[in-house]
């Protein structure tokens, strides 16, 4: 069907018919919808879930974010919350300092896989072991996007990146690290879960898990962790429209979704 044959609905303005808006373009805490991230990037979807959860749990005036280095860092400018932008990998440590000073704050960290598993694996494991009451969020797209698409410790075998151009080969590049699985073994880690934002069902489940992570933090249960698989079609050398399927076929097998540990 070409455009000329189909009667399209006018979507340029709200409907005249009595109706209720059930979803706005963006959460109130997001100052602007504009961002520089690539077509099909999963990070902005994760940003939106984070801000929706903070709003729905009424944590706006208690939330402090500690954000690492990556394409996702831009949220510190566009979100109306207090943020500390910290050194690569060090977010859990800086967040420890923040939470020990403001014990009632909703302290969260936002890091990519490169930031958390490469540079910051030590910080993550120790902060979890100490049971620091923060919510650690990892946006896992299996690639260092911000540096132009390089291999990280979560890049899956076979994944092409600029430093594994023929595909990650265990003989040369070793194996990926499933950090969420490591965290489950630590007594201080109260809640460990994995979500994804490549389809609507996963988005909905991920939002629920994010809410639980914050609720457990505020209840003092211990370290809470949510890994969110996000699309990076640019880093993966796939068209934007194929990013969702590619995530499902390449990453979900290595990083199964769901709650791995809960109080």
């Amino acid at each position: 069907m070409t455009e000329a044959n189909v009667q399209f609905v006018d979507t340029s303005r709200p409907p005249d018919e009595p109706s209720r808006r059930i979803a706005d373009f963006k959460p109130d805490l997001l100052d602007t919808e504009d961002h520089h991230l690539c077509p099909g990037c999963g990070h902005p979807v994760a940003w939106r879930l984070l801000l929706e959860v903070i709003e729905e749990l009424s944590l706006e005036q208690r939330a402090i974010g500690v954000v690492g280095h990556g394409c996702y860092t831009h949220i510190i400018q566009t979100a109306d919350l207090d943020f500390l932008q910290c050194l690569h990998g060090r977010a859990p440590s800086a967040a420890t300092g923040v939470k020990r000073v403001h014990g009632d704050a909703a302290v969260f960290t936002l890091q990519g896989d490169g930031d958390l598993v490469n540079e910051g694996l030590q910080e993550t494991l120790h902060t979890a072991a100490r049971g620091e009451r923060i919510t650690s969020i990892m946006l896992n797209n299996g690639v260092f996007g911000d540096t132009g698409g390089h291999m990280t410790s979560t890049t899956v075998v076979g994944q092409r990146t600029k430093t594994s151009i023929d595909g990650r080969d265990p003989a040369m590049h070793g194996y990926p690290i499933p950090v969420a699985d490591l965290l489950c073994h630590l007594d201080g880690a109260a809640y460990v879960a994995r979500g994804a934002v490549n389809n609507a069902a996963s988005v909905a489940r991920t939002k629920k898990m994010l809410k639980r992570a914050f609720e457990f933090q505020m209840a003092g249960a211990g370290f809470t962790f949510l890994e969110i698989l996000t699309m990076c079609p640019t880093g993966w050398f796939v068209p934007a429209k194929d990013g969702g399927d590619y995530l499902a076929s390449s990453m979900e097998e290595v990083y199964p979704l769901g709650e791995l540990k809960a109080p």
């Binding site: 109130d28 805490l29 100052d31 602007t32 903070i54 944590l59 706006e60 005036q61 208690r62 939330a63 402090i64 500690v66 510190i76 400018q77 566009t78 979100a79 109306d80 919350l81 207090d82 943020f83 500390l84 932008q85 910290c86 050194l87 060090r90 440590s93 800086a94 967040a95 420890t96 300092g97 923040v98 020990r100 000073v101 403001h102 704050a105 909703a106 030590q122 910080e123 120790h126 100490r130």
Partner: protein
């Protein structure tokens, strides 16, 4: 003013807590360990936090986070561990976060590390070098004040003598004057008001409240250090008014030098000593004045020659400046060696005084 006999490490911890420090994180490493133990023992009763961090890097970043949240926070190590912290110290400088760093160093006097730093960008670190545990107690409180006043990392340069000596100290609170409120600190309370805060070395600010950006911000930070350099120089000079020879040293070396200078003065030698109390900003103008009429400026430091660079930059005639120190380690590699004794210092000074010939 109540004095108590305390081990240096414990005394500095007590002094820091008196100054309001409520967050400390560190990794054990001799001779810094006594300070970590002091905080570990004393912080809980004061309602503060002391974390035995998993490494120096985590310790300094925890302290940086606590500082960003508005607390008086500190960390420390010995020089080898301070080396690991360089990135975070630079980050604190460019974030304009107060951060007190205790270097309880080993035997080599790491002047370069304290004053040049190994981080990135244009920043300086106010560094004070106490001569003993009692002065360290005072410097501890002063450093918390300076850190808050200028929103900068600051360094206390001590060593095993500062950390491990039992001295009579007064850890009561000193008042250095008013400080601005920490309205930049993060507490979450302004979320959703379009007045929320971001602490970021690039200072681009929020989309609803743009910041100056890295160029203007880093230039402003550099300007800040240039201004405070003129305001925060500290030194001590002994018998320099009529001295023909001035011995320059810093930290715990200085009391040994001063002892020898007093002895030689009693023997009629026109000798004096000069001690930078602030390693940075280096009290260059005061050193120039103190050595203006001297024929010799002898520099005694327990390293291969580091502070001597700043001495040469400050005195009117570089040819007066003579290094008389050297690396000196004990057998363990943790402490100063045989050069740090009155006999060795006297011998070094006399050897060079004897070699003094015609005026330069």
């Amino acid at each position: 003013m109540a004095s108590a006999l305390m081990k240096g490490g414990s005394a500095m911890a007590a002094s820091a807590i008196t100054a309001g420090c409520r967050f400390f994180a560190g990794y054990p490493m001799e001779p810094f360990t006594a300070l970590l133990e002091g905080f570990s023992q004393q912080m809980p009763a004061a309602g503060g936090v002391c974390i035995n961090a998993e490494s120096e890097i985590e310790g300094v970043n925890m302290a940086l986070g606590a500082s960003a949240a508005g607390a008086r926070a500190a960390t420390g190590s010995c020089g080898q561990g301070i080396a690991l912290m360089q990135e975070a110290i630079a980050e604190a400088a460019l974030n304009e976060l107060p951060l007190v760093v205790f270097n309880l160093a080993r035997g080599q006097q790491d002047y370069f590390q304290a004053t040049r730093g190994g981080g990135w960008g244009d920043y300086r670190t106010i560094a004070l070098a106490p001569k003993d545990a009692a002065e360290a107690v005072e410097h501890t409180q002063l450093l918390f004040h300076l850190a808050d006043l200028y929103r900068t990392p600051v360094l206390l340069y001590g060593d095993y003598l500062v950390s491990g000596t039992y001295m009579s100290v007064d850890t009561s609170r000193r008042d250095y004057g008013p400080l601005p409120a920490k309205d930049w600190a993060l507490d979450g309370s302004l979320g959703g008001t379009r007045r929320s805060r971001v602490i970021w070395t690039w200072r681009r600010g929020k989309t609803f409240d743009p910041g100056p950006g890295p160029d203007l911000h880093w230039r402003a930070v550099a300007d800040k250090y240039a201004e405070l350099e003129l305001l925060e120089m500290r030194h001590e000079a002994l018998h320099t008014d009529d001295a023909e020879c001035v011995v320059v040293s810093f930290g715990t070396t200085a009391p040994f030098v001063d002892y020898v200078v007093e002895e030689l003065r009693a023997d009629g030698v026109r000798i004096g000593s000069f001690r930078p109390v602030s390693l940075w900003p280096f009290p260059g103008p005061a050193l120039a004045r103190a050595t203006a009429s001297a024929k010799q400026v002898l520099v005694l430091e327990l390293n291969a020659g580091q502070m001597i660079d700043d001495v040469r930059l400050s005195v009117d005639d570089r040819s007066k400046v003579v290094p008389i120190g050297r690396v000196s380690q004990d057998h363990s590699g943790l402490k100063q060696g045989d050069l740090l004794s009155v006999e060795a210092v006297r011998e070094r000074v006399l050897a060079h005084l004897d070699r003094a010939s015609a005026p330069a």
